[in-house]
Symmetry: C2
C-alpha cells in the first residue's frame, strides 16, 4: 500500500505538470497575435503621423499576418506530426459532445471539436504549430464579428441614413441578390469549363455550391475606404450610401448564405426543386425578420430600462453591454442569426437608448464598442494574412480564382449601375456618375466574406472557395483600399470641410418612405422610449390621454424637443424646413 | 455513384446541422449568466439609489447565482446522462491534446479537456445542463482574474501606498506566510481528529495538503469592504493598508499555492524533506521575482512607447491594453505566474505610463479596465453562488468545515495583531486599536481563494477543500461584507469628508524605505519614463550629461515638475514639507 501510495503521488505530480502545460498552451499563440497587433498599431501610428493613406490599418494587419505566416510555415517545418494518428473506435457513437476515454486505467475527458473529411486527415496531421495558430471558425462568428457589426450599427449616421433609406435598402437587398446570382452564374460557367478540361470532377460542384460562393462573396466591407472618407470628410451622402449598403448587405449576405447552405432538394441536387427553393426563400425571410425583431426588441428593453438608470454610469454601461450581447445570444439560441440581431440592436440602441444615457455613459459605450471593434477588426485581418500560409488545406485553382475575380467585378457592376439608374429615376438628388464609379470601386471584400468562407472548409469545393475568397480579400483590401485617395482625386469627388456640416443640402430622396417612418417615430416611439420628442399627450388622440400621461417622461413636458444627438438625428431647423406643412408643427409652438 | 453522391449530400446536411448545434451550444448558458448579471445590476441600482449598504453587488451576484443554481439543480434533474459513458481504449496514448477518432468511417476531432479520477467518473455522468454550466477552471485564471488584478494594481493610490509600503509588505509577505502555516497546523489537527473518528483515511490527507489549503485560504479579498470604504470616505490610511495588503497578498498566495503544489519530497510525503523544502522556497522566490520583473518591464516598455504616441487615443489605448495583456501571456508562456505579472504591470503602468498618456487615453484606459473588472468580478461571484448547487462533486464534511472556519479566524488574528504590534514599534503614526479590529474584520475571502480551489478538484481531499473554501467565501462576503457599515460605526472609525483631501496628515512610517525609493524614482526613473520630474541633466552627475540630454524629454526642461496624477503621487507642497533638506531641492529653484 505504501508503494502504491507513492505511485499515486508521483502520478499526481505528473498530471499537474501536464495540466499546466495545457494551461500555458494558448499563451504562445496569443502572444504571437498580440505581437502582430502591436506591430500593426506602431506602423499605423507612423503612417497616420506622416499622412500616408495608401495603407490602412487593416491592410497593415494583413501584411504583418502574412509575413508571420510565412515565418511560421518555414521555421516550424520539421515539427512533430505525432498528434495526428487516427484511431479506429467503431464502438463509439458519433455526435457526442464529450468523450470519456479510459487509457491505461486513467480516464480522460475529450471535447468534440469538428468532423474531418477523409481526404483532409493527412492535412490535419501536419505541423503542430500551424495547427495551434488556427482558430476555431466559430470564434469568428461568436466573438470577433459581433462587436464589429454592433459598432457599425451603433455608429450609423442616422440623419443621413434615413434620408437615403430607400436607396440603401435597394442596394442591400436587391443588389446583394443580383450580385449573388451573377457570381453564381459566372462561376458555374467556369466550373463547367474546368470539368471540360478535367480539372474537376462534375459531381463535386453543383449550382448550389456556386450560389453559396456567390452569396458569401457578396458581402462587401469597405472599412478601408470608409476610414479614408471619414478622415478626408468626403461627401456625406456618398459616405452614408456606402456605409449603409455595406452594413445591411452583411446581414443579407449572412442570412442568404445560411439559407443556401440548408437548401436541400429532395431529388438530384442539380435540378431545380421549387418546393425546396421556396422553403429557402421562406427561411431567408423568417430568419431575417426574426433576427431583426430579436435585436430591436432587446434594444427597446434597454431604452426602457435606461430611462431610470442614469445616475450610475458603470451600471448603465454594464446593462447596455449585457443586453446588447443578450440580443446576440438569444438569436443564436433561437436558431436565428445573432449577427443580424446585433446589427439591428445597435441601430436601435443608437436611435433610442443613446438619448436616455447619461453623458458619461454615452461616451463610455461609444468608446467601449469603438475599442472592441478596433481590436476585433485587426485580429481578423491579421488572421487573414496568417491564414494564407498557415491554413493547411488550400486548393489554389488558377482558373477558379481568375473566374472569381471576373465574377466579383462583373457582379459589382451589375449591382451598382443598373440599380443606381433605377434609383435616380425616383431620387430628387441624383447619384452622380463619379459617385457611381466610386461605389463600384469600393466593393472590397473583408471580414464577413472570410468568416463565411472559413466556417466550412471540409469538402474540396469549400476549400477551393475559401482559398479564392481569401485571395480576393487580400487583393481588394490592398489594391482598392490603397487606391482610394488617388481614385477620389481622379473622380473629382468634392471634400466637405469639417467645419461646415452640410445643413442646407436638399433632401436626397423623394421621401415618402422616410416621411412616414419619421412621423411615426417622432410622434410615438421617441416619446415612449426616450426623454426627447413632444409629449405623447399632444401627439395621441385625446381619448388616449390617461395612457399617454402614463407613458410620457415628466421631463418631456418642460423641455422643448430635447434631442441630444444632433449629430445623429435631423436637427431642429432642418426639420422645420422639411415639414413646414406637417400637422404637428403647431404643437411645438404651443409648448414653446 | 449517383446513390453514393446523394448519400454524401445528405450526410453533409446532417453534419451541417450537427455543427450548428455545436455553434449554439454555449449560447443558452451564456444567456443564463447574462440574465443573472442583468438582475444583479438592476438590484444593485435599486440598493444604491436607496443607500442600502448591507448587500454589495458581489454579494448580490452570489445570491442570484445561488438561486439560479438551485433552480437548475431541481428543474433539470431528470436530464440525460447519456454523454457520460466511459470507453475503454487501451491502445490510445495518454496525454494527447487532440484525438482523431474514426467512428463508422467518419473521422472526428476531439480536444483534450481534463483528466478525471476514477471515483469522479460517476459524478461527471450526471446532469447535462449542470455540466454545461460548469466553466473550465482555466477560464478563471486566464480570462476573469487578469482584468480584476490589473485593475487593482492600476487603481492603487500610490501616494499613500508608498507611504505605507513597509507595513503593506509586512502584512502581505509575513502575514500571508503566518496565515498559511497557522491554517495548515489547525487543519492538520482537525484532520487527525477526523482520522481518529474514522471519517477519513490517513493517507488521503498529508500535511502538504493542509499547507495547500492554508495558502489558498490566505488570499483575502475585501472588495466589499473597500467599496463601502470608498463610498463612505473612510480614513485613507486604513483604506490603503487594507487595499495594498489584499492586492499583494493575492500575488503571494497564488505563488505560494503553486510552490506548495509542486513540493515533492522524494521519500515519504509525510516526512519533512529539507532539500525539497528549500527547492519550494526557491521556486517561490524565483517565480515571484520573475513575474514581478516580467510585469514591470512590459509596463516600462509601454511607458517608453507611449512617450511618443499621444496623438491618437485609440492607438494608445490599444497599445496599452495589448502590452499589458502581453505581460500576462509572456509570464504564462515562460512558466511564471501571469496574474502576478499583470498586477505589477498595472502598478507600474499607473506610476509611469499613466503620466505619458493623453487626457483622452487616461480616461479610456481607466474606464476600460474599470468596466472589465466590474464584469469579471460579477461573473466570478455569480459563478460562486451557482457552484454551490451545480458543482457535481461537493464533499460536505462538517468537522472539516468547522475546523476551517476556526482556522481562518485564528490565522487572521495571528496575522494582524502581532504584526501590527511589531509595525507600531517602527511607525510614527501608529495603527490604532480600532483600525486593527477593522482589519481583522475585513479578512474576507473571495475570487482568488475560489479560483485557486477550483483549479484542482480531482482528488477527494481537494474536493473537500473546494466545498469548504466556497462556504467560507459565501459566509464572509455576506456576513462580514454586510456588517461593514455597522462595524465602522461600532469601532468609531472617522470618516473623511470628500471635499477635504487630507493634505496635512503626518508621514505614516519612519520612511527610510520610502525615502530611498522615492529619491531614486524621482531623480532617475520618472525623468526617463515620463514627461514629469526634473530633467536628468540636473540629477545625474555632470559627466553623464550627453546621455542625460538624450534621455530627457524636451518638455521636461520647460515645465516645472509637471506631475499629472496628483491624485496618485505625493503633491508638490507635501514634497517640500518632507524633503526640505534633500539635495535636489535647489535644482527646482534654478529651473523655476
Amino acid at each position: 500500500s505504501h508503494k502504491g501510495n507513492e505511485m499515486e503521488k508521483l502520478k499526481k505530480y505528473v498530471s499537474v505538470k501536464d495540466e499546466d502545460q495545457f494551461y500555458h498552451q494558448g499563451a504562445v499563440e496569443l502572444l504571437v497575435f498580440n505581437f502582430l497587433l502591436i506591430l500593426t498599431i506602431l506602423t499605423i501610428w507612423l503612417f497616420k503621423k506622416h499622412r500616408f493613406r495608401f495603407l490602412h490599418e487593416t491592410g497593415g494587419a494583413m501584411l504583418y499576418g502574412l509575413v508571420m505566416g510565412l515565418i511560421i510555415q518555414y521555421a516550424a517545418k520539421a515539427s512533430d506530426a505525432e498528434s495526428g494518428t487516427v484511431y479506429e473506435c467503431e464502438k463509439l457513437k458519433s455526435g457526442q459532445s464529450t468523450l470519456f476515454i479510459n487509457i491505461t486505467n486513467q480516464v480522460y475527458e475529450y471535447q468534440y471539436k469538428r468532423e474531418i473529411s477523409h481526404h483532409n486527415v493527412n492535412g490535419h496531421q501536419g505541423n503542430a504549430m500551424l495547427q495551434k495558430m488556427t482558430f476555431d471558425p466559430s470564434i469568428f462568428f461568436n466573438i470577433l464579428l459581433p462587436p464589429i457589426i454592433f459598432h457599425a450599427g451603433y455608429s450609423l449616421k442616422k440623419r443621413h441614413f434615413f434620408r437615403n433609406l430607400g436607396s440603401i435598402l435597394t442596394y442591400a437587398f436587391l443588389g446583394t441578390a443580383i450580385s449573388c446570382i451573377i457570381i453564381a452564374l459566372i462561376m458555374y460557367g467556369f466550373v463547367k469549363a474546368m470539368v471540360h478540361t478535367g480539372q474537376l470532377k462534375e459531381w463535386d460542384f453543383h449550382f448550389t455550391d456556386c450560389l453559396f460562393f456567390g452569396s458569401l462573396m457578396s458581402a462587401t466591407d469597405p472599412v478601408t475606404v470608409l476610414a479614408i472618407f471619414h478622415e478626408l470628410h468626403v461627401d456625406i451622402d456618398l459616405y452614408t450610401l456606402l456605409f449603409g449598403e455595406s452594413v445591411l448587405n452583411d446581414a443579407v449576405a449572412i442570412v442568404l448564405t445560411y439559407s443556401i447552405s440548408i437548401y436541400s432538394p429532395k431529388e438530384n441536387p442539380n435540378t431545380f426543386d421549387a418546393a425546396a427553393f421556396f422553403q429557402s426563400v421562406g427561411n431567408f425571410l423568417g430568419i431575417f425578420a426574426g433576427s431583426f425583431a430579436m435585436g430591436s426588441s432587446y434594444a427597446i428593453v434597454t431604452a426602457l430600462i435606461s430611462f431610470t438608470l442614469c445616475e450610475f454610469p458603470m451600471l448603465e454601461t454594464g446593462l447596455f453591454f449585457l443586453l446588447s450581447w443578450s440580443a446576440f445570444l438569444s438569436a443564436e439560441a433561437a436558431g436565428l442569426t445573432g449577427i443580424v440581431a446585433v446589427l439591428f440592436c445597435g441601430v436601435t440602441q443608437a436611435h433610442y437608448t443613446y438619448n436616455n444615457l447619461s453623458p458619461d455613459s454615452k461616451m463610455r459605450t461609444k468608446q467601449l464598442f469603438e475599442f472592441m471593434n478596433f481590436l476585433a477588426e485587426n485580429v481578423i485581418f491579421c488572421y487573414m494574412g496568417l491564414a494564407l500560409f498557415t491554413f493547411q488545406n488550400h486548393i489554389f485553382n488558377p482558373l477558379f480564382i481568375f473566374g472569381a475575380f471576373v465574377a466579383v467585378f462583373v457582379a459589382r457592376a451589375c449591382n451598382i449601375y443598373p440599380l443606381t439608374f433605377l434609383l435616380n429615376l425616383g431620387r430628387k438628388q441624383k447619384i452622380a456618375r463619379n459617385f457611381q464609379h466610386m461605389m463600384m470601386f469600393s466593393g472590397l471584400r473583408g471580414a464577413i466574406a472570410f468568416a463565411l468562407a472559413i466556417r466550412d472548409t471540409e469538402s474540396q469545393p469549400k476549400q477551393m472557395m475559401f482559398t479564392t475568397a481569401l485571395l480576393i480579400v487580400l487583393f481588394t483590401v490592398w489594391v482598392f483600399g490603397g487606391g482610394t485617395t488617388p481614385m477620389l482625386t481622379w473622380l473629382q469627388i468634392r471634400l466637405v470641410l469639417a467645419s461646415n456640416p452640410d445643413k442646407n443640402t436638399t433632401k436626397a430622396e423623394s421621401a415618402w418612405l422616410f416621411r412616414i417612418w419619421y412621423s411615426f417615430d417622432h410622434k410615438y416611439l421617441k416619446p415612449i422610449l426616450t426623454h426627447a420628442g413632444p409629449p405623447l399627450t399632444t401627439t395621441l388622440p385625446e381619448w388616449c390621454n390617461p395612457v399617454a400621461r402614463l407613458l410620457t417622461s415628466p421631463s418631456a413636458y418642460g423641455d422643448q424637443l430635447k434631442d441630444d444627438d444632433t449629430d445623429y438625428i435631423i436637427n431642429n431647423d432642418e426639420l422645420t424646413e422639411n415639414y413646414e406643412s406637417s400637422a404637428h408643427m403647431p404643437v411645438w409652438d404651443r409648448t414653446a
